[in-house]
C-alpha cells in the first residue's frame, strides 16, 4: 500500500530526491520500510521525524546508497541511485571521525578519497573548518575535541565535498543540550548560505520544527508517512524568539499529540 505525502505548499520547488515505493526487508524478516514514497524539495531542509522503529535511518541510508532497497527506486536529480555518489554526503550520528587523523585531514577526507591534490583539498577543508567555527583547530586530534566540536568536523567534511544533498543521521543526538541548541541555530545559517538540500533524521520534535522547511512524520509498523507539515514560522526573528513563538509551540504540541500513541 503506498501512502502519498500530503503536499501543502502551492508552488512546489523542484524535487531533489524522489523515493518511490521503497521496501526494505532485512535478512531475518524484519520489515523496516514498506512501499515508502516521498519527495524531497530542492534547497530545503526536510526532516524525517518519528518514534524508533519507523525506518527513518534505514530510509536515509538507502538514499545515501549505503543500503540497497529490497524493491523500489530512489532518484537524485532524476538519476537513479545505485550506490554512494558525489552529489550526496552523509553526516554520521557517532561522528565517524578517524582518531588517528587531525581535524584538517578528517575534514578533507572526502576529497582525499576522490583523489583531489593535497594543497587543494586542504584549502577547501580549511574554508569549511572555519565555516563551522573551528578555525585554529586544524591540527588538533579528535580525542582533544569535545563531542560538539567533533560533530562540526563531520559537518565540515560533508560540506567540503560540495554535494548537493546532505544527509544527516540524528547529527546532534550525541551532544549535550546546550551545544545542541547552538547547533540548531548554526544549522539555520548554513542552510541559508549553502542553498543545498538537507534531509535530516531526528527523533526530537522541537528540533524538527525549529530547523525544517517541512517535516515528514513517519510512523512504524507498517512504516509510512502519515503527514507532511510545513512549519510556517518566521525564521528571521532571533533564535530565542522563535522558541517562544506561538506558532512554533502549537506545531510542536500538535505533532506530539499525533505521535504520542506510538511512543513505547
Amino acid at each position: 500500500m503506498s501512502s502519498i505525502a500530503e503536499a501543502v505548499s502551492m508552488d512546489t520547488p523542484p524535487i531533489a530526491v524522489s523515493v518511490n515505493d521503497v521496501t526494505k526487508i532485512y535478512p531475518g524478516g524484519v520489515e523496516a520500510l514498506n512501499d515508502m514514497t516521498i519527495q524531497f524539495p530542492k534547497g530545503e531542509l526536510t526532516s524525517l521525524l518519528g518514534p524508533s522503529g519507523c525506518g527513518k535511518t534505514t530510509l536515509l541510508k538507502i538514499i545515501a546508497g549505503l543500503l540497497e532497497p529490497t524493491s523500489g527506486t530512489v532518484t537524485v536529480n532524476d538519476v537513479p541511485v545505485t550506490g554512494p555518489g558525489k552529489e550526496r554526503a552523509f553526516v554520521f550520528q557517532d561522528f565517524a571521525l578517524m582518531p588517528w587523523a587531525s581535524v584538517m585531514r578528517n575534514a578533507a577526507f572526502g576529497l582525499e578519497l576522490q583523489g583531489v591534490a593535497k594543497s587543494e583539498r586542504h584549502a577547501i577543508a580549511e574554508k569549511y573548518i572555519e565555516a563551522v567555527g573551528l578555525k585554529g583547530c586544524e591540527h588538533l586530534y579528535p580525542h582533544e575535541l569535545s563531542g560538539g566540536m567533533r560533530q562540526r568536523v563531520g559537518l565540515a567534511r560533508a560540506l567540503a565535498v560540495n554535494a548537493e544533498v546532505l544527509l544527516m543521521d540524528e547529527p546532534f543526538s550525541a551532544v549535550d543540550e546546550q551545544t545542541r541548541r547552538k547547533f540548531q541555530e548554526d544549522l539555520l545559517d548554513v542552510i541559508k548560505e549553502e542553498g543545498k538540500t538537507f534531509i535530516f533524521v531526528t527523533h526530537s520534535i522541537e528540533e524538527a520544527v525549529y530547523v525544517s522547511h517541512s517535516i515528514a512524520l513517519l510512523l512504524p509498523r507498517p512504516s509510512r508517512v502519515s503527514e507532511i507539515i510545513r512549519p510556517d514560522i518566521d525564521r528571521d526573528i532571533s533564535p530565542d524568539a522563535i522558541r517562544r513563538d506561538p506558532v512554533y509551540l502549537d506545531i510542536v504540541e500538535r505533532i506530539w499529540q499525533g505521535l504520542r500513541t506510538y511512543v513505547e
Binding site: 554526503a89 552523509f90 565517524a96 588517528w100 582525499e112 576522490q114 579528535p142
Partner: protein, 254 residues
C-alpha cells in the same frame, strides 16, 4: 616528605634496591653453593662484557631471533589481515590459529629438530612458530573489530575497497596489531632461548650451559641476566615506537 616517599621513582628505586639486596643476602647465606650473590653476578657480567666474550656470542643468538621475528611479523600480519577481510580465509585459518594459541608450541621443537637438524633452520622455525599465532590472531581480531560506522563513512565518501583497507582499516587496527607484535616478540625470545637450550647450544645458550657445566655459576647467572635485560629493553623499545610509526594519538598504549 610523604609525597617524596611515595613518588613513583622513589618507590621504583626502593624496590630495585630491595630486590637486588635480597639477592645479595641470599647469595651470602648461601642458600645453595650454586647461587652466586648479586655482586658476584654483576662483576662476572662486567668481566664478560669487557673481555668481549659476550659480544662474540650474541650474534649467534640474534640471527635466528631477528630472522624469525621478521618472518613471523610479515607473514603473521599479512595472514591476519587477510583472514579479517576475507570470509573464506577466516573459515580456513581462524580455527587453526586459535588451537595453536593455547597449545604449548614448545612441544614442537623436538619434531623440528628431528626434521630439520640442529642448525639455523630449526632455530628460525622455532622462533617463528612460537611468535606467529598471537601475531596472526591479533591482526585478525583488530581488522574484524574495525568500527562499522567508519567503514560506512569511507563507503559513503566513495572510497574504493583498496582505499578503505589502507586508509581506514589498517590504521584503525594498528594498536592491536602492534600489541600482537610485542607479545610475538616476547614469545620469539622464549623460542630463541629454548632453541639454544634444547637443540644445540650456541650464542647465549652456550654461555649459560657451558658455565653451568663447569660450575661457574656467577658467569651463568650473568649470561641469563643479560638476555633477560635485553629482551625487556627490546620489547620496551617496541612499545615506545608505536606512536612514531602508527598512531600519533596513542602516546601511551597500556
Amino acid at each position: 616528605m610523604y609525597s617524596f616517599i611515595i613518588h613513583p621513582l622513589t618507590l621504583r628505586f626502593l624496590s630495585v634496591v630491595i630486590a637486588f639486596g635480597t639477592w645479595e643476602y641470599l647469595g651470602r647465606i648461601p642458600i645453595s653453593p650454586a647461587f652466586p650473590t648479586f655482586l658476584e653476578t654483576m662483576s662476572a657480567l662486567g668481566g664478560m662484557l669487557a673481555d668481549g666474550s659476550m659480544a662474540a656470542v650474541y650474534p649467534a643468538t640474534f640471527q635466528p631471533l631477528l630472522i624469525g621475528l621478521i618472518i613471523s611479523s610479515v607473514l603473521g600480519i599479512a595472514c591476519g589481515v587477510f583472514m579479517g577481510l576475507n570470509a573464506k580465509a577466516e573459515w580456513f585459518g581462524a580455527p587453526v590459529f586459535i588451537v595453536l594459541q593455547s597449545a604449548p608450541l614448545a612441544a614442537l621443537i623436538p619434531l623440528l629438530t628431528f626434521a630439520y637438524g640442529i642448525g639455523l633452520t630449526s632455530k628460525i622455525l622455532t622462533v617463528s612458530i612460537m611468535a606467529m599465532p598471537v601475531i596472526v590472531l591479533n591482526a585478525y581480531t583488530a581488522v574484524r573489530h574495525t568500527p562499522t560506522s567508519m567503514i560506512e563513512m569511507g563507503t559513503s565518501y566513495l572510497g574504493s575497497p583498496r582505499q578503505i583497507i589502507l586508509k581506514i582499516i589498517i590504521p584503525s587496527a594498528s594498536p592491536v596489531i602492534y600489541a600482537g607484535l610485542r607479545l610475538g616478540a616476547a614469545m620469539g625470545f622464549i623460542g630463541a632461548i629454548l632453541a639454544e637450550l634444547l637443540i644445540t647450544p650456541t650464542g647465549i645458550g652456550d654461555l649459560i650451559t657451558y658455565n653451568q657445566s663447569i660450575a661457574e655459576y656467577d658467569k651463568m647467572y650473568a649470561a641469563i641476566f643479560s638476555i633477560m635485560v635485553f629482551a625487556v629493553i627490546f620489547i620496551e623499545i617496541l612499545e615506545r615506537t608505536e606512536y612514531i610509526f602508527f598512531r600519533p594519538d596513542k602516546r601511551v598504549s597500556q
